[in-house]
Symmetry: C2
Subunit: 204 residues, 2 copies
């Protein structure tokens, strides 16, 4: 089991999905993780629905920092921009090679597919982003899919489950419960990890 004070990198580019970035960031920070929102350029970044946020750092300055999770938010235009950022792609390839956690939601699993970083894994994504018939990966329609160090999810409506799954993966089910209870969710938690807790062993 990994301990707290771990670092999460969330790259943000113009066109990011507003809710996916903020729900992930808020929940992971509530769980005690250090989250860095990293922009491609200096200055404000604008979400697909118009949210203007100030990143915490420049992506170029933090791609070589020790990172426990890299979390790729969706939003088509944002993902297209991230896909062209070579240092980010290099970081993702390196993490993939080392078996380190990569989390992607909505349109973001598409950029991982392009670079064959989903190969052989069970995955999900926003409808239409991945080919359900692909021979490269096993496509599922679950809200969140965890396969070893790869965590994928579907869209804004599954972002809370996605972030809570990452909390559970890194800090355990008790920390997930502790983070989830104060949110006052009206529906029961859905944990893709409860049946597959062995995943955690494989990523430490």
């Amino acid at each position: 089991m990994v301990t707290s004070a771990m670092q999460v990198l969330i790259p943000v580019a113009d066109g990011f999905e507003d809710m996916e970035v903020v729900i992930s960031c808020d929940i992971l920070r509530r769980a005690g993780l250090k989250v860095v929102l990293a922009g491609l350029d200096a200055g404000l970044v604008t979400g697909g629905c118009g949210l203007r946020l100030q990143p915490d750092a420049l992506l170029a300055d933090v791609v070589n920092v020790d990172i426990d999770i890299i979390l790729l938010p969706g939003g088509n235009r944002g993902v297209q921009r991230l896909t062209k950022h070579q240092p980010l792609i290099q970081l993702l390839r390196e993490r993939h090679r080392r078996g380190q956690i990569i989390a992607a939601i909505c349109a973001a699993p598409g950029m991982l597919a392009t670079h064959h970083l989903l190969d052989g894994r069970q995955v999900t994504a926003y409808p239409g982003i991945l080919d359900p018939q692909s021979a490269d990966y096993i496509y599922q329609e679950s809200a969140v899919v965890v396969d070893g160090p790869l965590v994928t999810s579907r869209g804004p409506g599954t972002a809370m489950d996605f972030a809570l799954t990452l909390v559970e993966l890194l800090l355990g089910p008790e920390k997930r419960r502790e983070t989830e209870a104060p949110l006052q969710r009206s529906t029961p938690e859905t944990s893709p990890l409860s049946a597959t807790m062995d995943n955690r062993a494989s990523i430490t």
Copy 2:
């Protein structure tokens, strides 16, 4: 039925609950409403979990603009700051007198209670914010409570239902479905309006 291009005002002050502001803003904009995030002062505003966002306007400049919904986000420190903003309190009193929509989530219903703007209404809030035994209002534990022009909700985990309820209230159930479906929520919608659609008649 009110038509589109309606305006929503979301006041934001340092300490706002990151998810509640952004989920509300994102969903209402997806539904075609014009949402203005209004800061108390010029410059960036920082959420309770550290999100730094750039408001679209100064609150002082927009309190006299025609507004269809005023939406008060939670986050204790943010709400404390909003409570001290006299033009905002005056706007809320005026809207209350006219029967115009006021929506409040999490800690925000507390500031409405202080100014007796919940009196006689069915309401909800974050646990501990309102007195469940109060003689002033009827407290409920539902995710979202709609009573005439007053819409209240519980916390970050109910923010999506809260925003979708506002979409339904203003633009009808079909627009709610159209906005909700692409979110890819894993759980069925919960609409407090389905049994109380007459509420809409009373606010137009």
